[in-house]
Symmetry: C2
Subunit: 134 residues, 2 copies
Amino acid sequence: MKVSQRTEYGLRAMVALAGKYDSGLMSIKELAEQEGIPVAFLEQIMAELRRAGLIVSTRGAYGGYALEKAPNKISAGQVISTLEGSLSPARCGAKCDKMSGCSTRSVLKRIEDSITDTLDNIYLNELVKAGIDE
Amino acid sequence: MKVSQRTEYGLRAMVALAGKYDSGLMSIKELAEQEGIPVAFLEQIMAELRRAGLIVSTRGAYGGYALEKAPNKISAGQVISTLEGSLSPARCGAKCDKMSGCSTRSVLKRIEDSITDTLDNIYLNELVKAGIDE
DNA sequence: TTATTCCTTACTAATTCGGTCAGGATTAGA
DNA sequence: TCTAATCCTGACCGAATTAGTAAGGAATAA
């Protein structure tokens, strides 16, 4: 249950965009340099965040990325679940058809729900501040 | 950031032990059968939980495992951090010496702290109930 | 039309994960 | 004292995931 490098990169890119909200686009190159992330890798991550509707992109010269909505409307939970998928062990859900009444899963579910809830209540604007404070 | 199968198994074993707290030991075999976990795999997990001081074991015939303290004194966070280690991406900490002032890490830290906090406030007795309710 | 930028797919080396296997150490009870 | 039951440990293995590279295509401002 480590946060993957991929997700950390994505999160930091989102926070960087949040810091520049309403002051223009940021290109992959800018983001990658500022955050120390390999360009080609970040490209993949941004593509996924765009498909999820969390950011918008503009192609061509002077293009770049921006948040799709205000930083205080996008939660860490949205970013993380986009980049990581479910918290459950991979196999559960694939093999198991019981959508309810699976007592085996109830313990884990209780925990996953708590984590999800926690992450859904942390917003990007708060994380921008966390970065400044440090 | 999936919860690993390993951790789910460990958590369920702990909840099973919590359900029998004060009514004797449970052997690996019992635990494994009841929870549907491969015996040899569960053995490794239990060894780790024991080394962490969360359970006590008795060897020899009629031996088995029991919680080291009451279910309401052991948190999901303790179990999970024992079995998974830190939430941070593997590399961070290995290469990076800055123990403070690493602005790159602050965003993730804020999130990890929230999750840790959440999990440290879920206790085994509560999870036993969750299992019954379902 | 060209430089800049986003977009997509395929590939790869290294690591982690889930699990098995083999055997040793300890203890209760016959 | 012997034996069965039980915990304990380390080595090993195939499959999946992870972090990244590579190569090229598509859109757009100037």
